[in-house]
């Protein structure tokens, strides 16, 4: 690694690896829903939810219920905050709002990306979008805040 690489490593938040954290959990809601980690950066995270008929709100229409999309976006948001904080530290969702811009198309996986655009000592502010194939035609918009709790470890 050259000098430039070392400088870059120094600027990056230390040690938050979503894939490593998820690999430690064989049960839980993320596993039950089949949420897949897609990618992250130093202040954002992206997850995907594969289409599953057990998660629909109406058996005839086959449209996903709201709850699984809230779970997807709350998870992406929480991981975005951990990315910004640089580690898996205690935090809790304080509130979230999801606007449904249009129904998701039955059979399509839903991708959710959230960004922690402001972090203070006590609160993390998050926004995000969910889409079912075309990021330019989103299905839902997230606004959320998370309580930043002290790391007791």
């Amino acid at each position: 690694m050259g000098a430039a690489g070392l400088t870059y490593a120094f600027l990056m938040p230390p040690g938050f690896d979503p894939a490593e954290l998820l690999a430690q959990h064989k049960t839980g809601h993320i596993v039950a829903l089949g949420l897949r980690f897609v990618a992250n950066g130093d202040d954002w995270c992206e997850f995907a939810l594969d289409y599953d008929r057990r998660l629909v709100s109406d058996a005839n229409s086959g449209i996903l219920a709201s709850g699984p999309i809230v779970s997807l976006m709350d998870t992406a948001g929480g991981f975005a905050v951990w990315a910004k904080r640089g580690g898996f530290k205690p935090q809790a969702t304080l509130d979230l709002r999801l606007d449904y811009l249009r129904p998701s198309r039955p059979g399509h996986a839903v991708t959710g990306r959230a960004e922690c655009y402001r972090l203070t000592r006590r609160i993390a502010f998050v926004r995000g979008l969910a889409h079912d194939g075309d990021p330019a035609d989103p299905i839902a918009h997230l606004t959320a805040t998370y309580m930043v709790l002290k790391d007791e470890a």
Partner: protein
């Protein structure tokens, strides 16, 4: 409460109707490992799912005897406040219909664990009501 039917997603979460409270269905989401977040509490998304199901059940419960079920709801906005951590035990929820019009229903919902007066989360939802024939 004969008009109330729960969504497939409710079965996925293990939710069932436990009874009635102030004229609306009282729902319970029994604790299971599949509801946990990475920090050992109930996942906010699962609590939101329960709140959503309690909201739609509350709207269904406003139907008159013999009226066709209007069990197709499209959420427009969902706003959830989390007041207390969801502990690894059963969660209860009950919705209160604020207004149900021809097209839009507005519902307030509360979730609790041991004490109904100590809510762990609350939500308000605006939902579009779609007649079952119109998809």
């Amino acid at each position: 409460m004969s008009n109330v039917a729960l969504l497939p997603y409710a079965d996925f979460l293990g939710i069932r109707i436990e009874g009635e409270r102030d004229g609306a269905p009282l729902l319970v989401m029994p604790f299971s490992e599949g509801l946990l977040n990475l920090q050992g509490g109930i996942h906010g998304g699962a609590i939101s799912g329960l709140l959503e199901i309690a909201a739609t059940a509350a709207i269904d419960a406003t139907l008159e005897e013999g009226e066709d079920p209007r069990s197709v709801f499209k959420p427009i906005t969902v706003t959830v406040d989390f007041m207390r951590p969801g502990l690894p035990k059963d969660v209860y929820a009950c919705g209160q219909v604020v207004r149900v019009g021809g097209r839009i229903a507005n519902v307030a919902v509360c979730a609790w664990q041991d004490d109904p007066d100590r809510a762990i989360a609350s939500a308000h939802m605006n939902l579009a009501i779609t007649p079952p024939t119109e998809k």
